[in-house]
Symmetry: C2
Subunit: 423 residues, 2 copies
Amino acid sequence: MGLVVQKYGGSSVADAEGIKRVAKRIVDAKKSGHRVVVVVSAMGDTTDELIDLAQQVSPIPAGREFDMLLTAGERISMALLAMAIKNLGHEAQSFTGSQAGVITDSVHNKARIIDVTPGRIRTALDEGNIAIVAGFQGVSQDKKDITTLGRGGSDTTAVALAAALEAEVCEIYTDVDGVFTADPRVVKKARKINRISFEDMLELASSGSKVLLHRCVEYARRYNIPIHVRSSFSGLPGTWVSNEPQGNQPMEQAIISGVAHDTSEAKVTVVGVPDKPGEAATIFRAIADAQINIDMVVQNVSAASTGLTDISFTLPKTEGRKAIQALEQTKEAIGFESLRYDDQIAKISLVGAGMKTNPGVTAGFFEALANAGVNIELISTSEIRISVVTRADDVGEAVRAVHSAFGLDSESDEAVVYGGTGR
Amino acid sequence: MGLVVQKYGGSSVADAEGIKRVAKRIVDAKKSGHRVVVVVSAMGDTTDELIDLAQQVSPIPAGREFDMLLTAGERISMALLAMAIKNLGHEAQSFTGSQAGVITDSVHNKARIIDVTPGRIRTALDEGNIAIVAGFQGVSQDKKDITTLGRGGSDTTAVALAAALEAEVCEIYTDVDGVFTADPRVVKKARKINRISFEDMLELASSGSKVLLHRCVEYARRYNIPIHVRSSFSGLPGTWVSNEPQGNQPMEQAIISGVAHDTSEAKVTVVGVPDKPGEAATIFRAIADAQINIDMVVQNVSAASTGLTDISFTLPKTEGRKAIQALEQTKEAIGFESLRYDDQIAKISLVGAGMKTNPGVTAGFFEALANAGVNIELISTSEIRISVVTRADDVGEAVRAVHSAFGLDSESDEAVVYGGTGR
């Protein structure tokens, strides 16, 4: 039996009962012969409560102090979890991110991991202990200040530790049974995916699936750490994310993993951009300088009569105002006609391997949307994904139609194979 | 202007408003030209809430993990305080006990400070910052584990930092105006003490005065750091504790500092102890082995007819059961007759310099109690203190009678001089 890293989210340790339930599960893994490292998030709403307090004392809390504040949350949950495990008769020691050797850069609130040097964790394991590590936090390499890793930070801590410790698997425990073929709140017939490749999981994550974040999957792929996403409330197996083949499917067939949607984005259209070299660069340099991450970018051919084109892109709604301001300031330099801002959009994505070489998939996707009466506003594709932008009101209808059209609905028991039929 | 260390207790930073009020006071000190180091406790009831959580997951929480848990409290308050100061336009940085260089032994939950190496604090000050330090916590010298300092730990952190940084003064901010001649809840006419010596403050602290704990005063005396105890709610000067003379009193007169009382103790009497060498040693070795701190010890001459004596001692009520068990186990070895346990007692102490050489003080103390109809059960004296044990029910009556008899009541404006009259 090897080493397993388990990660428990805030909803799994929301109260004393949750902590005791998680402790029991950890002890079970230890009893079965594993060496166990546990990464834990802050209890339930703790982080939100701390953020609220910060805003009461300062409208724009400073990064260093904000990180110092937030890391108190994991400190509480990890110490309680270690106590609960000891209470079951097993040895456990808790470690802060710093003690666990999670070394980061100095970008407070969204630091990136530079290195993991888990010497103290190894010692704890060698002494027969269960090691409990605070997720979401590290220590900066240059200033030795406490940092936090930003959204999805605890999952990333778990994967990074699994990589550094050469774990067999990184188990991500959450409040759902795994990754689904679509959001079960939108598509009642969504099925749990048993196995999925890193690549497909990356596309699902960046297309709106919230179970695993892109960053953590990317890390796992780089170090080839299998992730097992599963529920801390049930004993059921969940979804395995790895680089192993997905079932025994014939090569070169498209295997549809699922349908993701995202209503957190807005669309900006820069209207009437002169169709000459350097214009797009000027636009997106302005956006980048404002520290805004964008998602889809679409530019169509320009109208021959005017020599002008339109460039559209999507970005988080929360960044909308900043983007518009940044673009207004470059209006003269670029010479565009106007800006359009639309935050009533949804992005719907179909993800699956082999899609590009199976033209029927794209056609089937658009047909399904057409049959459901859903208008397509933007289209963007990758090797294993097709995304469209539609009206936000249409999102449920659109996702259900696509899910059904690709045979993902739960009447079928097996993973869906699609392709080779020319449809 | 020199360096000042300010310490704020949990009641001063109980909520966002309190934190903002404290931030303003700190900024005022900085504006007046001081270099400022601030030690802060956990907000209001945070520590109690964390203890409650710990007990929900484990009836006897492990020391190391318990310390990890509790230190989350100061982490929250110090980060918020630094943010609030920055919001007022001044630079502040928060530091954990470990970052501030508070090095302790490895006795979790009640670690003792071994060394203070405040290199990072000095750097922060040199850069013009206000340094905020978590009270109550440190890092163990050998294992690099997080420790807590136990009761009064934040005051001790403040004094220790003041000593290491050679501060002009250590200001202890609390929710009362200073040290009083008696507990104002019991004696309405109690007066604030303007100046008091380390020695008198030590005796008051060990006799039940709760404003400053013995440990912190002892540390301050050893390194000769003046303490200024004052309210964080008012701008009034409080009580100065130092080794300077108390006012312009003639030498060799008794100067009564105040009357302290303590109802947190119980009395154990070992009845019928053979009056021969080694018996008392056996009794108190048994108590010490059970890790129990005792307070007063009284043994009277033995009755000539039996050759047996009684030994009484007082100890915290919380340790009562443990002490009785420890003594029961040594009953055969010692050969005592029986044990008596009484937790309905109060200890009343009169503290003041020069008492021993002014016999009238002792007599006046006992007369005041007699006139109030209060029976004395045990007596114990030191160079600058007389303590008696009475019934718990009598405590208010007794303290008021003594306070009044020694002219401490607030009609008189000046510190009370007593002695030389033979009374």
